[in-house]
């Protein structure tokens, strides 16, 4: 495969596109709601209307309005249909030639769509994720060629550094700096690892990227491999994401077939192979050292750092570990330059972030917005607020490692530092809206139950601490606790936070501390000796 072959495939693919394209969301959420039958129904309706020369029905990736699926979009007319059933299919086809469909019309001008800035998700919902030709047709693998033929590894690292991209898994560590660190390490064998163990409950950004645009991640990893001097990549993906695994496997197979991943890519001396490793249901394996243990076939026990994976990772070799979303940002950064990316977002938080907006909100789904967008814009304007006239009480970010932002602070812009100042974190992108019927003490208890179930058991503060914290929270919820128990709860939180070995234990107390900070009256109300 050389660049001319690639461009020819792109050209052929683009020429095949029919005048009217009907896109059907085929990500897991919509598929579970019957999208497969809808697509089949549309295909049948096209044929029986005799329109198969002009109308194409395509399965595409996530169309983001997940709470209103199955979703169907007709272009070039820019018509969106929501909650589509197979019975709606014939009328959608009939509506192409005038008339109105029985299917519910969506509004592509609604802030939910209009306020998004798709960079990570630019191909999501547009291309068929199961055809590499569709990815190539939108410029896929051109940046890999460009990098291999025209750039030195340090040029690539420079672009990533200039972009200001920070790790999107939640850590927010400067990506360019991480790449530079691994690149400098001595040693012939290095690895690239994609952390697709998206364990935060309520987060499905990475799942959607993998199901909707898997090649984007592969290309990003290959570019990273070139930049740091690695020839072997692993994608560690949760077993709970079978469709993502299937699409990744297909993507790897297809890219191998075209020699875009493997040996001598584009005829250069650069080899890069990618393997999938499937998790087995352990939240702690999202922690990078535990993840590496798991790839090596062991229990997912973290270890102290230093040494960091950049210095000593998989099998003792320098290893670059980045999140799915981080890798998905690489192709556009190389294509348009680091400086372009750095113009988006805020001074310390560049670019966009993908969020999974869920919970008590009208418009649940995926949104990608520039950093600096406020929580209020996201929840009220894009999300449409709480259903049935309810009120927002709090927005939870960062999963079990995060905290709640109360309603009166929703004008906070989304940035790594501003969220930290409020006692929460950006996290991987889960954003859960809670209404005024939610008990914040029960939410803290819920998260602690989760951490208690997921602790690896290696260090005492986390292993015993989460058990005791959960017991205290349960005592409070059951109205059996006193103010002494609250004091003990706080003290124990700080102990677990300060003394745990890894991020799981260190952040497990965050939901408790955050709810104590903003909703202390709810705790006090439940006490036996309340004032």
């Amino acid at each position: 495969m050389d660049i001319n072959d690639l461009l020819e495939i792109a050209q052929q693919e683009r020429e095949q596109i029919k005048p009217t394209v009907i896109r059907c969301c085929s990500a897991a959420g919509c598929l579970s709601s019957g999208a497969g039958a809808v697509k089949n129904g549309l295909e049948a309706a096209v044929i029986s209307a005799g329109l198969d020369a002009e109308v194409q029905v395509s399965g595409v990736g996530c169309m983001r309005f997940c709470g209103h699926g199955p979703l169907v979009e007709v272009s070039p007319n820019a018509i969106l249909y929501e909650n589509v059933t197979v019975e709606d299919a014939p009328s959608i086809i009939a509506a192409l030639q005038g008339g109105i469909s029985t299917a519910k019309l969506g509004d592509l001008n609604h802030p939910f769509f209009a306020r998004q800035l798709p960079i990570v998700l630019e191909n999501s919902g547009q291309i068929d994720p199961e055809r590499i030709e569709a990815y190539i047709a939108v410029g896929g693998y051109e940046q890999l060629f460009h990098v291999l033929s025209e750039k030195q590894p340090q040029d690539v690292i420079e672009q990533v550094t200039r972009s200001g991209l920070r790790g999107r898994g939640g850590g927010g560590y400067p990506t360019g700096l991480k790449w530079a660190t691994v690149a400098k390490m001595p040693g012939k064998q290095k690895y690239v690892v994609c952390n697709a163990d998206e364990g935060d409950p309520g987060a499905f950004m990475d799942r959607s990227v993998l199901e909707s645009d898997p090649h984007r991640v592969l290309e990003g990893m290959a570019i990273a491999g070139y930049a740091i001097g690695a020839n072997h990549g692993f994608i560690y993906v949760r077993a709970e994401y079978p469709l993502a695994i299937k699409r990744l496997q297909k993507a790897i197979q297809q890219s191998k077939k075209y020699d875009l991943i493997g040996s001598g890519i584009f005829g250069s001396g650069f080899d890069f192979k990618i393997e999938i490793r499937i998790g087995a249901g352990a939240f702690v394996c999202g922690e990078e050292t535990a993840l590496m243990q798991s790839i090596q076939g062991g229990r997912g026990n973290p270890r102290p750092r230093p040494p960091y994976p950049a210095e000593s990772g998989l099998w003792g070799c320098p290893t670059l570990i980045n999140n799915v979303e981080t890798f998905a940002n690489i192709v556009p950064i190389i294509r348009q330059g680091g400086d372009w990316y750095a113009k988006i977002g805020t001074e310390k938080s560049k670019g966009t972030k993908v969020f999974a907006l869920t919970g008590n909100v009208n418009n649940a789904g995926l949104i990608e917005v520039p950093m600096g967008t406020t929580l209020r814009e996201i929840v009220e304007e894009m999300g449409g607020g709480v259903p049935d006239g309810g009120k927002v009480k709090a927005v939870q970010t960062g999963g079990p490692s995060g905290g709640c932002v109360p309603a009166h602070l929703l004008d906070t812009p989304i940035e790594y530092e501003s969220l930290q100042r409020l006692g929460t974190i950006m996290g991987s992108g889960g954003m859960i809206v809670m209404d005024d019927k939610t008990s914040m003490v029960e939410i803290a208890q819920f998260y602690m139950e989760f951490c208690r179930g997921e602790t690896c058991g290696k260090c005492v503060p986390c292993r015993a601490g989460t058990v005791q914290l959960y017991a205290l929270l349960t005592k409070i919820v059951n109205r059996q606790a006193t103010s002494h128990d609250i004091a003990q709860l706080k003290a124990l939180c700080y102990m677990v936070k300060d003394m745990s070995l890894c991020g799981l234990g260190q952040t497990a107390p965050n939901p408790v501390l955050s709810t104590l900070q903003y909703f202390e009256e709810e705790y006090l109300e439940l006490l036996v000796d309340k004032v």
Binding site: S32, G69, A203, R238, R277, S294, A356, G430
Partner: protein, 197 residues
């Protein structure tokens, strides 16, 4: 979490009515049957594909769980021999990860997602209702061995919360009523396949 001695005990004592062969409990196939042989051979192929490297332990256990339905002592021992690692290490890994099961599941599985989005939209209440209806607790199987009720810690189906997975099929936007209806349907299917004598 079953203790190793319990597994050993149950593996060694033959099932009532079994032939003289040493049977593993409820794998659905005795290890020496043709079906059992086929499954062990498939497992060997998986280990071979990974060049019998010990790093492939989790991949191999996935395959074993898929083939046998759960990981009993016989299977764990076979894997330990194949990958040349101590049984204690195989057991340690098998018991660490939530997805590996050392005891058989019911004929049907019902997994209720208890991720945050599902919880906020009533997932925990659905779980309680199902526990009451089935007379079992989360993580266990009904007394007749038909339905296993389990929790997942987020399937990533948050857009269609609350989600319940019945025999591998994800159903979204569930209510207590719809979840109970699905369970009743399962029970009816069972009853029609196994009518009372």
């Amino acid at each position: 979490m079953p203790v190793l001695s319990e597994i050993k005990q149950s593996a060694v004592s033959p099932k009532e009515g079994a032939t003289g062969d040493c049977a593993s409990p409820s794998t659905g196939a005795t290890p020496r049957s043709a079906e059992g042989n086929r499954r062990f051979k498939a497992l060997d192929m998986t280990m071979k594909r990974h060049q019998f490297k010990s790093d492939a332990l989790i991949e191999v256990l996935h395959k074993a769980q898929e083939s046998f339905g759960f990981l009993d002592l016989e299977v764990l021992t076979h894997v330990a021999h194949g990958l040349k690692i101590p049984l204690s290490r195989v057991y340690g890994v098998a018991t660490f990860y939530h997805l590996f099961s050392l005891k058989p599941n019911g004929t049907h599985t019902c997994v209720v997602c208890l991720g945050t989005a599902c919880h906020v939209k009533g997932g925990s209440k659905i779980m309680s209702a199902l526990e009451a209806e089935l007379g079992t607790v989360m993580g266990e199987t009904t007394a007749d061995g038909q339905i296993s009720l389990m929790a997942a810690r987020c399937l990533g189906a948050c857009g269609i919360a609350p989600a319940v997975v019945i025999d591998g099929t994800v159903t979204g936007k569930q209510t207590i009523e719809s979840a109970l209806e699905n369970i009743h349907h399962l029970q009816e299917v069972n009853a029609s396949l196994h009518p009372p004598l």
